[in-house]
Symmetry: C2
Subunit: 218 residues, 2 copies
């Protein structure tokens, strides 16, 4: 039993940190909050460690490097958006559109996740940046899900046929992100009201031009 690869040290961000480790989780959580507030680059690992009540070196024991900490934060906190998009896609049709402002309402109730990803995306626009590839893939994935939702609706005749799904998916994600950004910058912006009006307009735009496949109601 040489100490070359002790079983105690979780070297990288591999293991999913879903609450249980205590210390490591506390550090990921503290880092998420500080990154959301001041960005990755402007946060020191010492500040993160201090918030949990340990030293910087203890933090490095868990994550190896500052970049490792970022990986762990992204692993742990990202995915909410993808899950939400997948939920909508599962529901489908006009009901999915009706649920869009729900994301806004959740953001207002808990702004920190929205802030975290707004900040991290901007910090990783450049291809050399540390998490660039992650966010590129994340958006491609989200666009695929939303485009699929639209294409399905068009195939079923519950959505108008003319908008190109990929472009509309890009536009939908853009509007959500852009509204969040303005509201994060300036709390005077009424995120929920803007989201609701937007979603209503989108529903109108996607309404089939002629009664192609009306439900039993009318």
């Amino acid at each position: 039993m040489t100490a070359t690869e002790s079983d105690a040290a979780p070297r990288s961000g591999r293991r999913a940190t879903r609450h249980g480790d205590s210390r490591r989780d506390e550090l990921v959580h503290a880092a998420s909050e500080l990154f959301a507030d001041r960005g990755y680059r402007d946060t020191s690992i010492a500040q993160v460690a201090e918030r949990v009540g340990v030293t910087q070196q203890a933090l490095l024991y868990y994550f190896g490097s500052k970049a490792g900490l970022l990986d762990a934060v992204i692993d742990d906190r990202d995915g909410a958006a993808v899950e939400f998009a997948e939920q909508l896609a599962a529901v489908g049709g006009a009901e999915a559109l009706r649920r869009l402002p729900g994301a806004a309402r959740r953001n207002v109730a808990d702004p920190y996740l929205a802030r975290l990803f707004a900040v991290l995306v901007a910090e990783n626009l450049s291809p050399e940046s540390i998490a660039h590839e992650h966010f590129v893939q994340r958006y491609r994935h989200l666009r695929e899900i939303v485009a699929g939702l639209i294409a399905d609706g068009q195939r079923d005749g519950v959505f108008a046929a003319d908008p190109e799904p990929q472009l509309l998916a890009t536009e939908i994600l853009a509007t959500i992100d852009g509204l969040n950004t303005q509201w994060l910058l300036d709390p005077e912006v009424d995120l929920v009201a803007a989201s609701e009006q937007w979603a209503a307009g989108l529903a109108e735009r996607l309404a089939p031009r002629r009664p192609t496949a009306r439900d039993a109601r009318s």
Copy 2:
């Protein structure tokens, strides 16, 4: 002639730097490019100075501090968006909507300004950040201009009456910003096509419901 306030030193970012000073302009320009690429916080004033071929201390002679340099960059480079919005407002009506994708085409031709402000806005979301107030005011101003354009069109009967102008203005700026962000992150995103489809949908949404004020054509 004591040297207490020599006439040579432009202390702060007061004077509009519209090309003429040479050195100072070169520094502002170099800083803009580096800030766009890596953000304000990740750029050192030494890197900016090096690009122009002077030392960091020469740069500080002009701007006093790194924050002073940021002020100068914002003074010099911001305003393009406001000018564009004012142009659209001056044109008004459906023609203004038709010109919206022009911004996208200009961004694709010269991505650096879009990148600069995407990065700077994200770095200044937090109220404590150095240029936070500037960007809050900038967006409020832009929203006012766009909301005015919409309200004018509604008053004249060339736009549908139901969208609330302030909320729609927020949504329009959000979509523009969000599309830019996705495209900056991933060049595979077709910014121009997405903008054109979006603008077409917006025009449809704003078309008056009944032929209130049709032109002589039809």
